[in-house]
Symmetry: C2
Subunit: 227 residues, 2 copies
DNA sequence: GAATTGATGTGAAACAAATCACAAAATATA
DNA sequence: TATATTTTGTGATTTGTTTCACATCAATTC
């Protein structure tokens, strides 16, 4: 029997994020042409890996000429559908939900939070230009804005219930901040973000390294970024 | 030349998180004994994988008897050093920083945010019992509470500068929310959390699946969780 | 315009991770 | 007490990913 769970984010895709971050910095610095080893050096991977990843995503360079920074960035933006605006809905206006609704980077990257929702009428007031609705208006908004992806920031107890309703309304992707393993149909993409786990894993590796001590023979020689 | 960047969070460790989430739910339901296939079924991995992972972390079960839920959970809590309290410091009290400082789950899981910091004197007031200090008091607090791990939620521009200072003060692990590839020494663990990337990757897979259409031949058959 | 140089792109090789297959052990049953 | 059953734990095998090695091409130099 094979595992039914695939890790949503493949390592090659994660590295594409890395390359992109690096590229936009290079572009800001006015660099017009990059080579696989430039990106490799900046991101801590090997240049073969960069080229292999590019080949997976169908990215072609120029023999001896490297890659044009702008073209490369554009290709990457297309990979993530940043060419056309994505309408997103956010559910749960607790601590985290409020912060996410104000998170400017989403908008900068063409991902628009068109509406937020909360069960609590007390929280249903407009904040930072994004309206907060009752859950009863979910269908209306999802249909009107053709929403396919939501951010779920509701408490643990209600996460599954809300997810079920969302899927019934045609949602195909969920970024889930609740520490729950949602049960969803095969065609729905779930990406669980668990802040505690992120912190705990750092604690785990730090302790491991402190124990290993002599800075040699470390299992992780890690100089930069996770992806 | 080998890649110097290792993915901080190994897949086997991610799955330990999964098993733990599952176990604490089972314990709540009064289940005292679990088998590898129980966890396997709940988490979407195979039972051999569960046992292989356990073996990697030195977890032993009872032949024919499975695993004792409580013992297993305790072993896992030890893996993540949840037996002893971890003092954490949070830097940057913007949107996200404020939300993180109020994030109850950290405390529940024995990770104490002992202090927060911000460059802006206007933000330096006590919120939700956790004091907000000026960055000038970093050394004092890090020393007093023997802090080894920090949460970095400062703007992109200042992230590297603050990270440099933190490392100078002896910090060994950083959960970095700024969209920057921090340059740090080999013995410092970085875990980058980029909320945009998490959302974009879901958008990527949703579009891919919509394009693939006929629900068959999907590259991802994904029923539950990311890890 | 031939020779050299410096990059890409990709099969082949090496390595790592997941699955298979089954021995070993513990319990239940006869 | 012997036999059957159930589940763990792990070598062997398969599958997937990264690294190596080099053919290929385009620009530059002679």
């Amino acid at each position: 029997m094979k595992q039914i769970t695939k890790y949503i984010i493949k390592n090659s895709l994660k590295r594409i994020f890395l390359y992109r971050a690096c590229l936009s910095r290079l572009r800001m610095m006015g660099v017009e042409k990059v080579f696989s080893y430039t990106l490799a050096h900046e991101t801590g991977v090997t240049s073969e890996q960069v080229r292999k990843d590019f080949s997976e995503f169908g990215i072609k360079g120029n023999k001896r000429g490297g890659y044009n920074t702008n073209e490369l960035l554009e290709v990457m933006e297309n990979i993530f559908h940043r060419n056309k605006e994505q309408n997103i809905v956010l559910i749960g206006m607790g601590n985290l939900g409020i912060a996410l609704s104000k998170h400017g980077q989403f908008f900068q990257r063409n991902m628009n939070i068109v509406a937020t929702f909360d069960i609590d009428p007390f929280k249903q007031k407009v904040r930072s230009n994004i309206p907060v609705y009752s859950l009863s208006r979910l269908k209306e908004i999802i249909d009107r804005f053709k929403v396919k992806v939501v951010i779920l920031a509701v408490p643990e107890i209600s996460a599954q219930e809300v997810a079920d309703e969302l899927i019934r309304l045609g949602i195909k992707g969920i970024v889930n901040f609740a520490p729950v393993l949602l049960k969803v149909p095969n065609d729905v993409i779930i990406n669980n973000v668990n802040l505690c786990n992120e912190l705990e894993s750092v604690i785990y590796y730090v302790h491991k390294q402190i124990k290993a001590d002599g800075s040699k023979n470390l299992e992780i020689l890690y100089t930069g970024m996770k992806y």
